[in-house]
Symmetry: C2
Protein backbone atom coordinates (compact mmCIF):
# COMPACT_ATOMS: atom_id res chain seq x y z
CA UNK A 1 0.00 0.00 0.00
CA UNK A 2 2.77 2.43 -0.66
CA UNK A 3 3.91 2.24 2.91
CA UNK A 4 6.32 -0.57 2.15
CA UNK A 5 8.55 0.99 -0.45
CA UNK A 6 11.04 3.63 0.51
CA UNK A 7 10.23 3.47 4.18
CA UNK A 8 12.83 4.99 6.46
CA UNK A 9 13.63 2.62 9.36
CA UNK A 10 11.84 3.74 12.50
CA UNK A 11 15.10 3.70 14.39
CA UNK A 12 16.50 6.36 12.07
CA UNK A 13 13.30 8.40 12.19
CA UNK A 14 13.54 8.43 15.97
CA UNK A 15 16.95 10.11 15.82
CA UNK A 16 16.03 12.79 13.29
CA UNK A 17 14.28 15.06 15.80
CA UNK A 18 17.37 14.91 18.00
CA UNK A 19 19.70 15.93 15.18
CA UNK A 20 17.22 18.63 14.26
CA UNK A 21 17.09 19.98 17.79
CA UNK A 22 20.84 20.34 18.14
CA UNK A 23 21.33 21.79 14.68
CA UNK A 24 18.59 24.31 15.32
CA UNK A 25 20.45 25.63 18.31
CA UNK A 26 23.68 25.81 16.32
CA UNK A 27 22.01 28.16 13.83
CA UNK A 28 22.41 31.01 16.30
CA UNK A 29 26.11 30.32 16.83
CA UNK A 30 28.95 31.46 14.60
CA UNK A 31 29.89 27.85 13.87
CA UNK A 32 29.79 27.25 10.13
CA UNK A 33 30.76 23.59 9.94
CA UNK A 34 30.32 20.71 12.34
CA UNK A 35 31.95 17.30 12.16
CA UNK A 36 30.18 14.03 12.88
CA UNK A 37 32.52 13.73 15.85
CA UNK A 38 31.33 17.00 17.35
CA UNK A 39 27.73 16.12 16.64
CA UNK A 40 28.36 12.83 18.42
CA UNK A 41 29.57 14.68 21.48
CA UNK A 42 26.38 16.75 21.52
CA UNK A 43 23.83 14.07 20.81
CA UNK A 44 25.38 11.08 22.53
CA UNK A 45 25.18 8.96 19.37
CA UNK A 46 28.43 7.64 17.85
CA UNK A 47 29.97 9.61 15.00
CA UNK A 48 29.85 6.51 12.84
CA UNK A 49 26.14 6.13 13.42
CA UNK A 50 25.50 9.76 12.61
CA UNK A 51 27.38 9.53 9.32
CA UNK A 52 25.49 6.39 8.47
CA UNK A 53 22.12 7.91 9.31
CA UNK A 54 22.79 10.96 7.19
CA UNK A 55 24.13 8.92 4.29
CA UNK A 56 20.78 7.15 4.20
CA UNK A 57 19.32 10.36 2.78
CA UNK A 58 22.18 11.60 0.63
CA UNK A 59 25.64 13.09 0.83
CA UNK A 60 25.63 16.31 2.76
CA UNK A 61 29.14 16.53 4.12
CA UNK A 62 32.37 18.05 2.93
CA UNK A 63 35.56 16.06 3.28
CA UNK A 64 37.93 17.35 5.96
CA UNK A 65 35.42 20.08 6.90
CA UNK A 66 32.34 18.30 8.11
CA UNK A 67 28.75 19.39 7.59
CA UNK A 68 27.60 22.90 6.80
CA UNK A 69 25.52 23.76 9.86
CA UNK A 70 22.95 25.75 7.92
CA UNK A 71 22.62 23.38 4.97
CA UNK A 72 22.32 20.29 7.13
CA UNK A 73 19.59 21.93 9.15
CA UNK A 74 17.75 22.79 5.94
CA UNK A 75 18.20 19.27 4.64
CA UNK A 76 16.86 17.79 7.84
CA UNK A 77 13.84 20.05 7.58
CA UNK A 78 13.25 18.77 4.08
CA UNK A 79 13.81 15.14 5.04
CA UNK A 80 11.24 15.53 7.79
CA UNK A 81 8.88 17.28 5.40
CA UNK A 82 8.75 20.56 7.33
CA UNK A 83 8.70 22.48 4.04
CA UNK A 84 5.21 21.16 3.38
CA UNK A 85 2.37 23.02 5.04
CA UNK A 86 0.10 21.02 7.29
CA UNK A 87 -3.04 22.06 9.16
CA UNK A 88 -3.62 20.79 12.66
CA UNK A 89 -6.57 20.98 15.05
CA UNK A 90 -6.82 20.17 18.74
CA UNK A 91 -9.74 18.12 20.03
CA UNK A 92 -10.32 18.72 23.72
CA UNK A 93 -9.69 22.10 25.33
CA UNK A 94 -8.82 20.80 28.79
CA UNK A 95 -5.59 21.71 30.52
CA UNK A 96 -3.46 19.67 28.16
CA UNK A 97 -5.33 20.84 25.07
CA UNK A 98 -4.87 24.45 26.12
CA UNK A 99 -1.17 23.90 26.82
CA UNK A 100 -0.85 22.50 23.30
CA UNK A 101 -2.53 25.63 21.99
CA UNK A 102 0.37 27.62 23.39
CA UNK A 103 3.01 25.24 22.04
CA UNK A 104 5.56 27.11 19.93
CA UNK A 105 6.72 24.11 17.93
CA UNK A 106 4.23 24.17 15.08
CA UNK A 107 5.42 26.79 12.66
CA UNK A 108 9.03 25.70 12.26
CA UNK A 109 7.79 22.19 11.50
CA UNK A 110 5.35 23.37 8.87
CA UNK A 111 2.23 23.05 10.97
CA UNK A 112 -0.48 25.63 11.33
CA UNK A 113 -2.82 25.29 14.29
CA UNK A 114 -6.18 26.41 13.02
CA UNK A 115 -8.77 25.39 15.58
CA UNK A 116 -9.63 23.84 18.92
CA UNK A 117 -12.79 21.89 19.64
CA UNK A 118 -14.56 21.02 22.85
CA UNK A 119 -18.02 19.93 23.94
CA UNK A 120 -18.13 22.05 27.10
CA UNK A 121 -20.40 25.07 26.39
CA UNK A 122 -18.48 27.12 28.96
CA UNK A 123 -15.32 26.83 26.89
CA UNK A 124 -16.85 27.34 23.46
CA UNK A 125 -16.18 30.82 22.15
CA UNK A 126 -13.19 31.33 24.44
CA UNK A 127 -10.05 32.47 22.67
CA UNK A 128 -6.79 30.71 23.52
CA UNK A 129 -3.62 32.14 22.03
CA UNK A 130 -5.65 33.73 19.24
CA UNK A 131 -7.48 30.49 18.48
CA UNK A 132 -11.20 30.34 19.21
CA UNK A 133 -12.57 27.21 20.83
CA UNK A 134 -15.32 25.75 18.66
CA UNK A 135 -18.13 23.36 19.47
CA UNK A 136 -17.38 19.73 18.76
CA UNK A 137 -20.78 19.67 17.06
CA UNK A 138 -19.28 21.67 14.24
CA UNK A 139 -16.34 19.33 13.74
CA UNK A 140 -17.59 17.61 10.58
CA UNK A 141 -18.71 20.84 8.98
CA UNK A 142 -15.39 22.50 9.78
CA UNK A 143 -13.41 19.60 8.38
CA UNK A 144 -15.40 19.70 5.21
CA UNK A 145 -14.50 23.32 4.67
CA UNK A 146 -10.86 23.02 5.74
CA UNK A 147 -8.42 20.34 4.72
CA UNK A 148 -7.03 19.14 8.07
CA UNK A 149 -3.90 16.99 8.10
CA UNK A 150 -3.50 16.19 11.80
CA UNK A 151 -5.76 16.09 14.84
CA UNK A 152 -4.25 16.30 18.32
CA UNK A 153 -6.46 14.28 20.64
CA UNK A 154 -6.63 15.44 24.26
CA UNK A 155 -10.13 14.33 25.23
CA UNK A 156 -10.88 12.15 28.28
CA UNK A 157 -10.28 8.43 27.72
CA UNK A 158 -13.96 7.60 27.68
CA UNK A 159 -14.65 9.83 24.69
CA UNK A 160 -11.53 8.95 22.76
CA UNK A 161 -12.73 6.15 20.49
CA UNK A 162 -15.98 7.87 19.61
CA UNK A 163 -14.21 11.08 18.63
CA UNK A 164 -11.61 9.09 16.72
CA UNK A 165 -14.34 7.41 14.70
CA UNK A 166 -15.80 10.79 13.83
CA UNK A 167 -12.41 12.16 12.81
CA UNK A 168 -11.75 9.12 10.63
CA UNK A 169 -15.20 9.35 9.06
CA UNK A 170 -14.50 13.01 8.33
CA UNK A 171 -11.33 12.00 6.52
CA UNK A 172 -8.48 12.55 8.96
CA UNK A 173 -5.27 10.72 8.00
CA UNK A 174 -3.08 11.38 11.05
CA UNK A 175 -3.80 11.54 14.78
CA UNK A 176 -1.50 12.79 17.54
CA UNK A 177 -2.93 10.88 20.46
CA UNK A 178 -2.51 12.01 24.08
CA UNK A 179 -5.34 9.91 25.53
CA UNK A 180 -3.32 6.90 26.77
CA UNK A 181 -6.21 4.75 25.58
CA UNK A 182 -5.75 2.05 22.92
CA UNK A 183 -7.43 3.44 19.82
CA UNK A 184 -8.69 1.55 16.77
CA UNK A 185 -7.96 3.24 13.47
CA UNK A 186 -7.94 1.98 9.86
CA UNK A 187 -4.59 0.94 8.38
CA UNK A 188 -4.26 4.08 6.31
CA UNK A 189 -4.53 6.44 9.29
CA UNK A 190 -1.27 7.35 11.03
CA UNK A 191 -1.55 7.12 14.80
CA UNK A 192 1.20 8.70 16.87
CA UNK A 193 0.74 7.80 20.50
CA UNK A 194 2.21 10.39 22.84
CA UNK A 195 2.32 8.52 26.13
CA UNK A 196 2.69 11.55 28.31
CA UNK A 197 3.58 9.48 31.38
CA UNK A 198 6.18 7.34 29.65
CA UNK A 199 8.92 9.52 31.11
CA UNK A 200 7.61 8.90 34.63
CA UNK A 201 7.70 5.16 33.93
CA UNK A 202 11.25 5.20 32.62
CA UNK A 203 12.52 7.31 35.48
CA UNK A 204 10.83 5.01 37.96
CA UNK A 205 12.38 1.89 36.40
CA UNK A 206 15.80 3.45 36.40
CA UNK A 207 15.60 4.78 39.93
CA UNK A 208 14.45 1.34 40.96
CA UNK A 209 17.42 -0.29 39.25
CA UNK A 210 19.81 2.05 40.97
CA UNK A 211 18.26 1.20 44.31
CA UNK A 212 18.52 -2.53 43.60
CA UNK A 213 22.10 -2.29 42.45
CA UNK A 214 23.06 -0.21 45.45
CA UNK A 215 21.51 -2.60 47.91
CA UNK A 216 23.02 -5.48 45.92
CA UNK A 217 19.97 -7.65 46.43
CA UNK A 218 18.78 -8.17 42.90
CA UNK A 219 16.95 -11.36 43.82
CA UNK A 220 14.05 -9.39 45.27
CA UNK A 221 12.96 -8.69 41.75
CA UNK A 222 12.63 -12.30 40.69
CA UNK A 223 10.29 -13.33 43.42
CA UNK A 224 8.01 -16.10 42.27
CA UNK A 225 4.38 -15.27 42.64
CA UNK A 226 3.10 -18.79 43.15
Amino acid sequence: MGKEINSIPDIIISRLPVYYQYLKRLQDSTKEYISSEELAELTGFSSSLIRKDLSYFGTFGRKSYGYDVFCLFQQLSIIMGFNYKKKIIIIGAGHLGQALAYNKGYRERGYQLISIFDKNPKLIGLVINDIEIRSINNLEEFMENNKINVAALTVPGGAAQKITDRLVAAGIKAIWDFTEVPLQVPDDVLLEEQLINEGLCKLSVKMNQIRINNSESAEDLNCEQK
Copy 2:
Protein backbone atom coordinates in the same frame (compact mmCIF):
# COMPACT_ATOMS: atom_id res chain seq x y z
CA MET B 1 29.12 3.18 39.11
CA GLY B 2 26.33 0.76 39.89
CA LYS B 3 24.65 1.64 36.69
CA GLU B 4 26.46 -1.08 34.78
CA ILE B 5 25.38 -4.20 36.61
CA ASN B 6 21.89 -5.50 36.28
CA SER B 7 20.81 -2.90 33.80
CA ILE B 8 17.68 -3.71 31.85
CA PRO B 9 18.21 -3.07 28.13
CA ASP B 10 16.66 0.24 27.12
CA ILE B 11 14.75 -1.48 24.36
CA ILE B 12 12.94 -3.61 26.91
CA ILE B 13 12.34 -0.65 29.22
CA SER B 14 10.72 1.19 26.34
CA ARG B 15 8.13 -1.56 25.94
CA LEU B 16 7.21 -1.88 29.61
CA PRO B 17 4.94 1.19 29.70
CA VAL B 18 3.06 -0.24 26.72
CA TYR B 19 2.47 -3.60 28.40
CA TYR B 20 1.49 -1.74 31.51
CA GLN B 21 -1.01 0.43 29.68
CA TYR B 22 -2.85 -2.48 28.07
CA LEU B 23 -2.85 -4.61 31.21
CA LYS B 24 -4.21 -1.71 33.20
CA ARG B 25 -7.21 -1.51 30.93
CA LEU B 26 -7.73 -5.26 31.15
CA GLN B 27 -8.10 -4.96 34.93
CA ASP B 28 -11.64 -3.68 34.46
CA SER B 29 -12.62 -6.54 32.19
CA THR B 30 -13.71 -10.01 33.26
CA LYS B 31 -10.74 -11.55 31.49
CA GLU B 32 -8.70 -13.56 33.98
CA TYR B 33 -5.91 -14.85 31.77
CA ILE B 34 -4.28 -13.50 28.65
CA SER B 35 -1.93 -15.32 26.28
CA SER B 36 1.16 -13.80 24.74
CA GLU B 37 -0.64 -14.18 21.42
CA GLU B 38 -3.56 -12.02 22.54
CA LEU B 39 -1.22 -9.49 24.08
CA ALA B 40 0.61 -9.42 20.76
CA GLU B 41 -2.61 -8.56 18.97
CA LEU B 42 -3.21 -5.67 21.36
CA THR B 43 0.27 -4.22 21.52
CA GLY B 44 1.53 -4.90 18.02
CA PHE B 45 4.66 -6.65 19.33
CA SER B 46 5.17 -10.30 18.41
CA SER B 47 4.12 -12.94 20.93
CA SER B 48 7.63 -14.31 20.91
CA LEU B 49 9.06 -10.95 21.84
CA ILE B 50 6.56 -10.48 24.63
CA ARG B 51 7.40 -13.87 26.16
CA LYS B 52 11.06 -13.07 25.91
CA ASP B 53 10.68 -9.63 27.47
CA LEU B 54 8.72 -11.02 30.40
CA SER B 55 11.10 -13.93 30.88
CA TYR B 56 13.83 -11.37 31.41
CA PHE B 57 12.25 -10.56 34.76
CA GLY B 58 11.04 -13.99 35.83
CA THR B 59 8.43 -16.62 35.03
CA PHE B 60 4.96 -15.23 35.32
CA GLY B 61 2.94 -17.40 32.97
CA ARG B 62 0.96 -20.60 33.33
CA LYS B 63 1.33 -23.27 30.68
CA SER B 64 -1.68 -23.64 28.39
CA TYR B 65 -3.44 -20.75 30.20
CA GLY B 66 -1.31 -17.72 29.65
CA TYR B 67 -0.70 -14.90 32.08
CA ASP B 68 -2.90 -13.99 35.02
CA VAL B 69 -4.09 -10.51 34.07
CA PHE B 70 -4.04 -9.20 37.62
CA CYS B 71 -0.75 -10.77 38.68
CA LEU B 72 1.10 -9.68 35.57
CA PHE B 73 -0.09 -6.13 36.08
CA GLN B 74 1.13 -6.23 39.66
CA GLN B 75 4.45 -7.68 38.58
CA LEU B 76 4.91 -4.98 35.97
CA SER B 77 4.22 -2.36 38.60
CA ILE B 78 6.91 -3.90 40.77
CA ILE B 79 9.38 -4.22 37.88
CA MET B 80 8.89 -0.55 37.12
CA GLY B 81 9.24 0.33 40.79
CA PHE B 82 5.76 1.82 41.16
CA ASN B 83 5.49 0.30 44.63
CA TYR B 84 8.14 2.71 45.85
CA LYS B 85 6.95 6.19 46.79
CA LYS B 86 8.55 9.10 44.97
CA LYS B 87 8.08 12.81 45.45
CA ILE B 88 7.92 15.06 42.40
CA ILE B 89 7.86 18.83 41.97
CA ILE B 90 7.13 20.95 38.90
CA ILE B 91 9.38 23.88 38.05
CA GLY B 92 7.60 26.42 35.88
CA ALA B 93 3.88 27.10 36.25
CA GLY B 94 3.25 28.11 32.66
CA HIS B 95 0.63 26.42 30.51
CA LEU B 96 2.51 23.15 30.30
CA GLY B 97 3.46 23.18 33.97
CA GLN B 98 -0.16 23.73 34.94
CA ALA B 99 -1.32 20.97 32.63
CA LEU B 100 1.16 18.66 34.33
CA ALA B 101 -0.31 19.67 37.67
CA TYR B 102 -3.60 18.20 36.52
CA ASN B 103 -2.03 15.02 35.16
CA LYS B 104 -3.67 11.95 36.69
CA GLY B 105 -0.76 9.59 36.07
CA TYR B 106 1.26 10.16 39.23
CA ARG B 107 -0.39 8.12 41.93
CA GLU B 108 -0.63 4.76 40.15
CA ARG B 109 3.07 5.03 39.34
CA GLY B 110 4.04 5.78 42.93
CA TYR B 111 4.59 9.50 42.47
CA GLN B 112 3.27 12.22 44.71
CA LEU B 113 3.19 15.73 43.30
CA ILE B 114 4.00 17.98 46.20
CA SER B 115 4.76 21.41 44.83
CA ILE B 116 5.02 23.79 41.88
CA PHE B 117 7.50 26.61 41.61
CA ASP B 118 7.58 29.73 39.49
CA LYS B 119 9.30 33.09 39.52
CA ASN B 120 6.29 35.10 38.36
CA PRO B 121 4.86 36.95 41.44
CA LYS B 122 1.41 36.93 39.86
CA LEU B 123 1.35 33.13 39.94
CA ILE B 124 2.87 32.62 43.37
CA GLY B 125 0.25 31.72 45.92
CA LEU B 126 -2.20 30.50 43.28
CA VAL B 127 -3.57 27.03 43.91
CA ILE B 128 -3.64 24.58 41.00
CA ASN B 129 -5.38 21.27 41.56
CA ASP B 130 -4.84 21.63 45.32
CA ILE B 131 -1.15 22.43 44.90
CA GLU B 132 0.03 25.90 45.81
CA ILE B 133 2.49 27.61 43.49
CA ARG B 134 5.60 28.60 45.43
CA SER B 135 8.29 31.13 44.70
CA ILE B 136 11.34 29.75 42.98
CA ASN B 137 13.33 31.68 45.59
CA ASN B 138 12.25 29.09 48.11
CA LEU B 139 13.35 26.12 46.03
CA GLU B 140 16.51 25.29 47.97
CA GLU B 141 14.87 25.71 51.34
CA PHE B 142 11.96 23.52 50.27
CA MET B 143 14.22 20.82 48.93
CA GLU B 144 16.17 20.80 52.15
CA ASN B 145 13.02 20.12 54.13
CA ASN B 146 11.50 17.63 51.65
CA LYS B 147 13.27 14.76 49.98
CA ILE B 148 12.42 15.27 46.31
CA ASN B 149 13.06 12.45 43.85
CA VAL B 150 12.08 14.02 40.54
CA ALA B 151 11.75 17.55 39.17
CA ALA B 152 9.62 18.19 36.10
CA LEU B 153 11.16 21.07 34.20
CA THR B 154 8.78 23.29 32.20
CA VAL B 155 10.60 26.61 32.34
CA PRO B 156 11.48 28.67 29.21
CA GLY B 157 14.59 27.47 27.40
CA GLY B 158 16.65 30.43 28.49
CA ALA B 159 16.24 29.63 32.17
CA ALA B 160 16.62 25.88 31.84
CA GLN B 161 20.33 25.38 32.53
CA LYS B 162 20.41 27.81 35.42
CA ILE B 163 17.48 26.12 37.14
CA THR B 164 19.00 22.72 36.42
CA ASP B 165 22.21 23.75 38.13
CA ARG B 166 20.25 24.86 41.17
CA LEU B 167 18.29 21.60 41.26
CA VAL B 168 21.48 19.57 40.99
CA ALA B 169 23.18 21.63 43.67
CA ALA B 170 20.16 21.03 45.89
CA GLY B 171 20.59 17.30 45.39
CA ILE B 172 18.10 16.29 42.70
CA LYS B 173 18.85 12.92 41.12
CA ALA B 174 16.24 12.79 38.33
CA ILE B 175 14.87 15.41 35.96
CA TRP B 176 11.87 15.09 33.67
CA ASP B 177 12.80 17.67 31.07
CA PHE B 178 10.23 19.38 28.82
CA THR B 179 12.42 22.30 27.78
CA GLU B 180 13.71 20.98 24.43
CA VAL B 181 17.05 22.54 25.32
CA PRO B 182 20.20 20.43 25.67
CA LEU B 183 20.94 20.30 29.39
CA GLN B 184 24.22 19.52 31.13
CA VAL B 185 23.88 17.31 34.18
CA PRO B 186 26.39 15.23 36.17
CA ASP B 187 26.63 11.51 35.34
CA ASP B 188 24.73 10.46 38.41
CA VAL B 189 21.64 12.53 37.58
CA LEU B 190 18.99 10.84 35.45
CA LEU B 191 17.74 13.07 32.67
CA GLU B 192 14.59 12.05 30.85
CA GLU B 193 14.01 14.31 27.89
CA GLN B 194 10.37 14.59 26.94
CA LEU B 195 10.53 16.09 23.47
CA ILE B 196 6.96 17.27 23.31
CA ASN B 197 7.15 17.96 19.58
CA GLU B 198 8.69 14.61 18.66
CA GLY B 199 5.27 13.34 17.63
CA LEU B 200 4.83 16.25 15.22
CA CYS B 201 8.21 15.41 13.69
CA LYS B 202 7.43 11.74 13.26
CA LEU B 203 4.02 12.42 11.75
CA SER B 204 5.54 14.93 9.36
CA VAL B 205 8.22 12.46 8.21
CA LYS B 206 5.68 9.74 7.67
CA MET B 207 3.18 11.94 5.84
CA ASN B 208 6.07 13.09 3.69
CA GLN B 209 7.04 9.52 2.89
CA ILE B 210 3.52 8.66 1.91
CA ARG B 211 3.42 11.66 -0.38
CA ILE B 212 6.73 10.68 -1.97
CA ASN B 213 5.69 7.07 -2.45
CA ASN B 214 2.38 8.06 -3.92
CA SER B 215 3.93 10.41 -6.42
CA GLU B 216 6.60 7.76 -7.10
CA SER B 217 9.32 10.35 -7.41
CA ALA B 218 11.63 9.40 -4.60
CA GLU B 219 14.58 11.17 -6.20
CA ASP B 220 13.31 14.56 -5.06
CA LEU B 221 14.59 13.70 -1.64
CA ASN B 222 18.16 13.09 -2.68
CA CYS B 223 18.68 16.41 -4.30
CA GLU B 224 22.31 17.44 -4.08
CA GLN B 225 22.78 20.79 -2.47
CA LYS B 226 25.94 21.80 -4.22
